[in-house]
Structures are given as C-alpha cells and as structure tokens.
C-alpha cells in the first residue's frame, strides 16, 4: 500500500483533507489515527484569523457549502500548541499553508521548515472564501508559478500545491506549478456556489458564496484528476467527494497517487479507516500485490485534455 509523494513515502494512499480533520485531536477519540497515510492540517496563515461571520455552512443536494474563511490561530500558535499532538503518532503531518501575499507564503515556509515534525507543505492557492490571496494565486498560471518557485527556494520539504477547480484550464495551472518546482499537486479544492433562503430572500451563508464539497462534486474532481495526471509527471493527489473505498479506487485508477478524504469525515469519523480497508480488500480480490499497479490503470483510448 506504500506510495511515494514527491519523496515522502506514506504507508497507504489515504490522507485527510485540509480543514476537515481539525488538528487531529478532534477526531482522535473516534478512530485509530496511526493507520492514516498522512494528515493534512487545517489551513494555517501567518497571523491568526477570526474567520467569516456565521452562518458559515449550508447543506445542498449530496453536498455542503462552506465559507469558514480560514479561521485559525496563526502559524506560531500552531507550531507551539497544535503540532506537538501529531508527533505522538507515526503518521506524516503535512501542513496546509495560506498566505495573502507571496511574502506571507515565504515566511510560513521558513517557519515550518524549522519546525519539528512537519513532513510536507500543502500550499493553498485555491481557497474561494477569503478576500485576498487564495484563489487569486490559483487561477493565474504565472501567479501560481511565482508562489511555487518562492516556496521551493525556501524549503526542502516536499511541496504539494492545492489547485482550484474554478478555472478554465486546470492543466495549464498544474503545468506551471510543476515548472515552479512543486513535488505534487492536490485537486480539487471546493467549487464556488451559493444557496438562497426563499422565505427571507437572503443568502444562506453570511459570506453569500461558499465552497461546494461532498459527493456532489466527485465526477468533476475525478475528471480533473484524470486530465492533470495525464498532463504532469509529478504525483497527483485526488480529492473531492470521496466517501467510500469505491470512490477512492476510481481516483487511483484514473491516475491519482493518493487520495484525500474531506467532507466524508463529518459524516463518519472513521470513514478513512473503512476506505483503507476497502482498498486492501480490492487489491486482494484482484490479486494485486502493490497499489502502485493500480494507479493510472484506466483502460481508455488516449484522449487528452
């Protein structure tokens, strides 16, 4: 079940997605954290952020909208208060970082390179719910390249760039971050959406728009992962609507080297463990000794994006 994510070897291809697993502690009573391939932490910024005004979430058909606005205690408090908990487990911790400017990304990279226990960085250039930074970096190939290059210059940690689906051509963004020195890409972040209360005639979210996640977005995520995996040479991590082992297997088959499970954690705190077990059972049933033999094993007529 071992896979290699740009030099980071993880014991199985199942990770928790940023912002859906808190800082590990929240879910520790409900599952054996030790079994996870990797943990991606909640997005962390240089300074503390209060987040958006409530209401911040709304359920939609087979999915949910969120506009949390990256509430987090800031990187210094994260390193001091949140990071030590993770080091109790033999599971690599990948810290999701968010900056409003390239300078902030640089400072975050420096601080985390020196922090004990950090095994990788996931660079969030795709948050749809903040006014500055986020998606602005992720929707322009040149900006995406610039952020990646600066982070690369400052750290030897494996760098994963998290991409937004809210673009015309995700392949060109993926290519530019590959050129910038990324070790891997993860996709997709949420799709921008909205929902309206017809009785009050108000948006359901105080932020008006939010990011759509959950099973509703899985086909879109799968299509984009397939496209990007055919375009870049670096590993692709599939994320978007994965709720069971079958979903995860679809992503691996279209070319994802690993998967991240997000919204499904909210529904079943031990879903990641069920997914790991399910992948193992599938491999056994198909007499496959190595999960890597499954990655990109899709039978198709060489169509590209």
């Amino acid at each position: 079940m071992r896979v290699d994510i740009g030099g980071l070897i993880i014991k199985n291809p199942v990770m928790t997605a940023s912002g859906t697993f808190g800082y590990g502690k929240e879910y520790a009573p409900y599952l054996d954290i030790q079994r996870l391939g990797a943990i991606i932490t909640k997005g962390t910024s240089l300074e503390p952020r209060a987040g958006n005004k409530p209401p911040r979430i709304m359920e939609t058909p087979c999915g949910m909208l969120n506009a949390i606005g990256l509430e987090n205690p800031g990187i210094r408090a994260f390193i001091k208060e949140k990071l030590p908990f993770f080091t109790e487990f033999d599971v690599p911790v990948i810290v999701n970082i968010f900056g409003e400017t390239i300078d902030e990304f640089k400072k975050l990279s420096e601080l985390l390179s020196e922090a004990k226990g950090v095994k990788g960085l996931e660079v969030n250039i795709s948050c749809p719910n903040v006014k500055m930074g986020g998606i602005i970096f992720g929707s322009d190939p040149d900006m995406a390249h610039a952020v990646t290059k600066e982070v690369r210059r400052l750290t030897d940690l494996p760098i994963i760039i998290k991409l937004t689906p809210n673009v015309t051509n995700i392949c060109s963004i993926a290519e530019s971050v590959e050129k910038g020195g990324a070790d891997a890409v993860s996709l997709i972040n949420t799709l921008t959406g909205m929902s309206v209360d017809i009785e009050q005639r108000t948006p359901h979210l105080a932020n008006v728009t939010g990011g759509l996640s959950g099973p509703a977005i899985k086909p879109i995520a799968l299509r984009m992962v397939w496209q990007v995996a055919k375009t870049v040479k670096i590993p692709v991590i599939g994320v978007g609507g994965i709720a069971n082992a079958r979903d995860a297997l679809e992503f691996l088959i279209v070319g994802a080297r690993a998967v991240q499970v997000g919204t499904a954690n909210f529904i079943n705190p031990r879903v990641t463990i069920d997914i790991i077990d399910g992948i193992e059972e599938y491999l056994k049933r198909h007499n496959m000794a190595d999960v890597n033999d499954l990655i990109g094993a899709l039978h198709e007529e060489g169509k590209t994006c």
Binding site: G19, G22, E26, P54, P55, R56, M58, T263, F266
Partner: protein
C-alpha cells in the same frame, strides 16, 4: 454507530418522538449534550442533524435514546418516514453539558418551541438529583400555538408548575414566554437560583436583556447548523463578546452547545 428505530410516532401535528436502540457501549448523555443522527446509507441529505436528547434509558442489553423533533426541512421530513426496524447512524453524545447545581434553591427552565426537548431532559435530571430536598423547579414554556405545546404532561410531572405562552394567545399568556418570565425574574437571586433556557434566538436575546441588572447564573443551549459535531469543521460558530478587542467565535458543537448567556455577542 448504528442504531435501530424502535418507535417513530407523531405525537402532535408535525412533532415526532423517535426511539433508537443502541449498543450498550453508547455513553449516557448528560443534559445539554446532543447526538448527530442520519439515516444509514443516504448521501442526500448528506450530513447528520444535531438533536438534543429528550430521554435516555438503559435496558438489559442496550441503550435507548429518545429524540423529540419537529418536522421543518428535508432532513426531518425523511426522518419522519422511518419505520420500526430501520437503521440509523447515531454519533455522540457530543458537546458540553449544562452545569448542574444540586444545592440550588430555585431553578427556572425556560423553553421556546422544540427547545422543550433538551430542557425536559435537564429538568428530569434536576428532579432526580434533588428528590430528597425541597427545591423549587419552575418551567416557562412558549410556543406559536396551543397545538405546538408538545410534552406538557411530562414537564408538569417533573416541575409541578409550568407557565405557558403562545404567540396567538390560544393557550396561556399571549406573547413571548420571556415576557411572562419578566414578571418573576426578580425572584431569582444570584447564588441560590439557576436559570436555564433553550429556544429561538429572539427569545434568548430578550432573556439576556431581562438579566441585564440581575447577575443570576444563566446557561443557554444554542442551536446551530452543524457538519461534523466534533469541533473540526468550524461551521457552527457562535459570536462571543470581544476579549481584549479581538473578535472571537466559539464552536457550538464542542465549546457549547451550552453557553453562559453573558458570553454570547447578541448581534
């Protein structure tokens, strides 16, 4: 964990009593704690719904959670169609419980609408704790109309006296229940009395105003939309009063759902 529906019965128009049988390993919920409930195997609706516990009991080979709910949206409509023997996924008990003061002399329970469910469970807890003592438990219960005053018999059995109000005047005082409570608020003294409340936001906000001059302890249960129920998603946040000028939010699921009424920023 998986549970089995034992009973799902409409006891008042649009109000159901759902009993779920769970394995014995299910922890006993404390008053104010909630469970996340969803129909097993569904992805639409996707998320569990938080419900305050109305009643709980252990029998020889398992645990039984009873939830009193009102049908309001898609999730509760589907819930109302569950039949005996159907499976549900139920996680919990989650959240911070009410603080109980067995030495209290006088306790007021104020509830509006379906807020009666967790308040009844709390009142029962108080009654059991103080059974040997002469403690005054008083309940104030408001609803939109007489037909929505669900579970009155049980409340009367626990508290003795229940003051009621309805928006349309079809039973009891006409208006918000906090207006009725305003007549008595001065009889609740800091130190010996306790006030607990659960209900719509305007009711809780008015209660806060009533207590502006009275420092008596008051805990409230806040109802918010939730996704995870365990503190990870940061979706159910409640604004708190500024601490040193910094805007702050608390998570209703894990920092609450029980809060001190004076800690909430009533915007």
């Amino acid at each position: 964990m998986n549970g089995t529906v034992v009973k799902n019965k409409e006891i008042y128009t649009g109000h159901f009593l759902l009993s779920v049988k769970l394995p014995d390993s299910f922890k006993t919920p404390m008053p104010g704690q909630f469970v996340m409930l969803r129909e097993a195997g569904r992805i639409d609706p996707l998320l569990g719904r938080p419900f305050g516990v109305y009643h709980f009991e252990r029998s020889g080979n398992g645990a039984g959670v009873v939830i009193l709910y009102k049908v309001v949206g898609k999730g509760t409509v589907l819930l109302s169609r569950l039949k005996e023997g159907d499976f549900v996924e139920l996680f919990g008990p989650y959240g911070r419980a009410f603080d109980i003061y067995p030495e209290a002399g006088k306790v007021a329970f104020i509830c509006g609408g379906i807020g009666v469910a967790p308040i009844t469970y709390l009142a029962l807890h108080y009654r059991r704790q103080t059974v040997a003592r002469d403690v005054k438990l008083v309940c104030y219960y408001g609803a939109s109309k007489a037909g929505n005053l669900v579970g009155m018999e049980k409340l009367e059995e626990i508290c003795g006296k229940v003051f009621i109000s309805t928006d349309d005047g079809s039973a009891g005082y006409q208006g918000m229940i906090t207006e009725k409570f305003a007549e008595d608020v001065s009889s609740y003294e800091s130190g010996t009395s306790r006030i607990y409340a659960c209900g719509p936001r305007p009711m809780l906000k008015q209660l806060r105003e009533l207590l502006a001059e009275n420092p008596v302890s008051c805990q409230i249960l806040m109802e918010e939309r939730m996704a995870c129920g365990v503190g990870a998603c940061l979706g159910c946040t409640v604004p708190l009063n500024d601490v040193e000028g910094i805007e702050g939010y608390a998570r209703a699921c894990i920092d609450g759902p029980v809060f001190n009424i004076r800690d909430i920023r009533w915007i």
